[in-house]
């Protein structure tokens, strides 16, 4: 029942669009898949687009936060894009602060931000 999330490579970045609600196993499988892909492609950045996601609970938030830290350990920067208003509101009310996470409004802004970060 685990669905795998496709991870695309564009130049030295990986692009991930999460298109459906994440269950625990899919989220954990994604964590491993992304790190494996970073390892094989030597990508330096990741854009993680969450536009279609209409809610994030504490578990998914933890998995996302962890994957960002883990990618950092592997020398890659992650930018999260497309967080919907309802998701932003519920995450903060729930008490979850995704601190030190780079975010952008949409995929286009996210890629630009990532390219700037990688230049520094």
């Amino acid at each position: 029942m685990i669905s795998r999330i496709p991870i695309l490579k564009l130049r030295d970045c990986l692009i991930v669009s999460i298109q459906w609600e994440l269950d625990d196993q899919t989220a954990l499988a994604f964590q491993e898949d992304l790190l494996a892909k970073l390892h094989t492609t030597a990508a330096r950045g990741v854009v993680l687009d969450l536009t279609p996601i209409d809610f994030i609970d504490s578990f998914i938030a933890k998995v996302l936060g962890d994957v960002i830290s883990m990618s950092g350990l592997m020398g890659a920067k992650v930018v999260i894009t497309g967080i919907q208003p309802a998701v932003a509101i519920t995450l903060i009310e729930l008490g979850i602060r995704l601190e030190n996470v780079v975010t952008a409004l949409d995929l286009e802004n996210g890629l630009e931000k990532l390219e700037r970060e990688l230049e520094d």
């Binding site: 209409d54 809610f55 578990f59 729930l94 008490g95």
Partner: protein, 133 residues
């Protein structure tokens, strides 16, 4: 009006089933997208607490009304170990699971009314209501 539906929480997949049911019920009542997200998230947290601490239990969702007010009532019940220190469980950042859940204070903030009844070694019943404004 008293429409009810429920999901038994036995495996991780039931957490998904419970929050999908919650979202459908919230849509059905007429809640907006932000409240739908609040209700879905709250149910996900409550179902995860059952799965983590009590192993099994039940999430019941009821459409309720009081005068002109419409709302959704969520009842999370289990026959698990109970909560020894409710005051502590309601503190932000308190966890006995290593931070897997945001915990009960988060759920309380997402919903309008929130009540815990718990007896150690007997179980816990949490009722949370969201009213449509």
């Amino acid at each position: 009006m008293n429409l009810r539906s429920s999901v038994d929480i036995i495996s991780e997949w039931d957490i998904v089933a419970a929050r999908q049911l919650g979202r459908n019920e919230a849509k059905d009542v007429g809640f907006g997208t932000v409240d739908q997200a609040r209700i879905t998230t709250a149910i996900s947290e409550l179902a995860r607490n059952i799965y983590l601490y009590a192993e099994k239990g039940n999430i019941e969702i009821k459409q309720i009304s009081e005068g002109n007010l419409k709302g959704l009532l969520v009842i999370a019940s289990d026959k698990g170990p109970g909560i020894a220190d409710v005051r502590k469980a309601m503190e932000d950042g308190y966890t006995t699971s290593g931070g897997l859940g945001a915990g009960l204070p988060g759920v309380k903030r997402l919903m309008d009314d929130f009540k815990i009844e718990t007896v150690v070694d007997e179980g816990t019943v949490i009722t949370a209501t969201k009213w449509m404004r």
